[in-house]
Symmetry: C2
Subunit: 382 residues, 2 copies
């Protein structure tokens, strides 16, 4: 199969929610989809067998981390990222831009690309839009992201305008290099997504999207949100931008979010998500449940024989008690991270499956309302 194709299956009547299929060379992905984050070629604290059991169809890996360690050359020599990490399902790689901005010391953004020092050993590197594509093609990713400039919030309008300008220029160069490589037979089964920037300025967001569409991508992502702005401002911007995005292409909201954010963003027309919350928070003892988040550190759970989530059918909830997992957490045991991560990823993926089913059955609005009421009552109670 040439490239990645997106097929719309159902559109909700009452909201902008959509259900689709993303066909990749490494399997079919049902959308809306949540992609667990596998920063260093591993979704932290889970085995690949567990990810399969959870029926994760696509995961995200971080170009920045893999470029620094073990390096894309090593991964290419070992047969590409799929073989390296023994994962035969789909992989989306980010471009590395976001990690450079959040992790690397002494970074400088120039027209040419980003100059930065490794957070691991201080070594100096330059990441250009072309190089970001080359690395992702070498990794053998199914979905590549262009290098973009993601600003923090708040951003001055003049800064946001400059970042959109640069992001468009980089997107054009990314696409050109991607096409070149494909002409030489590399990355032929991969897709390339553009990233919309523009901070909280609607007209800049519109301009960014229009410029990207002019270049033409296989999918479009909303970047530069969930970077410190108010939740309502984020959702307003998602609603505005998703409303402008082309109907026949996958829409990916980067780095978002809580379970409630996912439901509300699907309502606004988003198809794809990634976020470290379910995995990172699990390692800190926070688990997500249908009745809101639960902090396993809480002394109230010390003798609680109930599962993490009484309405959950995952392996962890069928077998282990809150009291046991709290003991593991208090004792600094790795099994605490394993069990909480497993449950959280299950909760996220299961929520997405329920969302999708509701869209297909035509009752997504009711599902969303019931889900949010129950989830957010739990949030205020805890």
């Amino acid at each position: 199969m040439e490239g990645v194709t997106f097929q719309l299956i159902a559109e909700d009547q009452a909201t902008r929610a959509r259900a689709g299929l993303l066909h990749t060379a490494h399997g079919v992905v049902e959308t809306p989809v949540f992609m667990p984050v596998g920063t260093q070629a591993t979704v932290k604290a889970l085995t690949q067998e567990m990810l399969e059991e959870l029926d994760a169809r696509i995961i995200l890996a971080n170009t920045y981390h893999l470029f620094l360690r073990p390096g894309e050359q090593a991964i290419r020599e070992l047969g590409g990222l799929h073989r390296f990490m023994a994962w035969e399902r789909a992989i989306l790689t980010d471009s590395g831009g976001y990690q450079i901005l959040s992790l690397a010391p002494l970074r400088t953004v120039r027209e040419e690309g980003v100059h930065f020092q490794s957070h691991l050993d201080g070594s100096r590197h330059v990441l250009t839009p072309e190089r970001a594509i080359e690395i992702q093609v070498a990794l053998g990713s199914d979905i590549l992201m262009v290098l973009d400039e993601c600003l923090e919030n708040p951003a001055e309008r003049v800064e946001a305008e400059r970042a959109v300008h640069l992001t468009t220029a980089w997107a054009r160069r990314s696409k050109a290099r991607f096409e070149q490589l494909r002409e030489r037979g590399h990355g032929t089964s991969a897709a390339l997504f553009g990233i919309i920037q523009g901070s909280l300025y609607p007209d800049l967001r519109r301009r960014s999207l229009e410029e990207l569409q002019e270049i033409g991508f296989d999918g479009y992502a909303i970047g530069g949100l969930s970077v410190g702005e108010e939740k309502a401002a984020m959702l307003d911007m998602v609603e505005y931008v998703a409303g402008l995005m082309p109907r026949d292409y996958p829409r990916y909201l980067m780095g978002v979010g809580t379970p409630a954010d996912l439901v509300r963003s699907v309502q606004r027309g988003v198809d794809m998500f990634d976020c470290v919350l379910p995995t990172r928070n699990a390692r800190n003892g926070q688990v997500f449940t249908s009745r809101g988040p639960l902090n396993i550190k809480n002394a109230a759970y010390a003798r609680d024989p109930r599962p993490l989530d009484e309405d959950c059918a995952c392996r962890v909830c069928r077998r282990y008690s809150r009291a046991y997992i709290r003991h593991l957490y208090a004792s600094g045991e790795i099994l605490s991270a394993i069990l909480c991560t497993y449950h959280n990823v299950h909760f996220y993926l299961d929520t997405m499956r329920k969302i999708r089913q509701a869209i297909v059955l035509g009752n997504f609005a009711e599902f969303a309302q019931a889900f949010l009421r129950r989830y957010e009552e739990g949030c205020s109670a805890s």
Copy 2:
């Protein structure tokens, strides 16, 4: 079923190796057996599902740790240790004596028992032989160990003699309390093992065993070895003591050892083992293979597509490469601990299964020779 019974199935002609069955209220355990160590009610870095998949039939838990956290009262209220940790197979608990001597600050051994401070919060406690039994009965352990006094090596003869004297007195009190509790209907399906002390003094070891046999236990353990003495001295003492131990009772060598130690101790008549090596070393990147240990940190493995052990059929070796696991280790990823522990525990349990099969088939001496040659060639090469 009342108590735990031991059934001899086969005795090797050329060596002292034996194959048996240990019938417990939580399943049958084939001996010789290695018991993975689950200090804090978890075998570090493995789920209980993984332990089942590895076909572990019995694990060890540490009374000292569970007494301090979460406390045996909490575990009893939650239905006992099996239900608490969601493990329906057999559990052996140590008495806590060894951990007090190795972990607790400001400990004082008196005739009455051991006074010590918790290594967690400095709180003061007294562990008497009676209390150690009460705790283990509250946990619902299948095999209980008496409180003993384990000396480090080297130990003066007069010290060793005193420790044997105390260990016998404590063993008598342990047995008495165990019987009392059983008369009241507690711990009726459990077994109680005595522990032979005597450092490296053969006559003290003999005296210790004779005194324990006079009291009468369901099994006998060799304690106080692998505490700093030379390997040859340890094996000589195992040979000497195992040669004196009663034929119809399980023989348990505590805290031992490397794969080669296991083979050599089975040769000398031992049935049961526990050791932190496969789990602790896994977390430090050392994996055990049929050709000796392998340190995954080694740069030589950075681009090595082979499995940890080319002769291993475990899930890890069927799926993941040395290069990937080395990357995980170098990146500080939890998955490194999971995969290395899984493989190591598989290697230990699989080695025990092969040992047992060889005993049953009558070719254990050949098996042992071939195993040791191959394993130790690898040790000297690495």
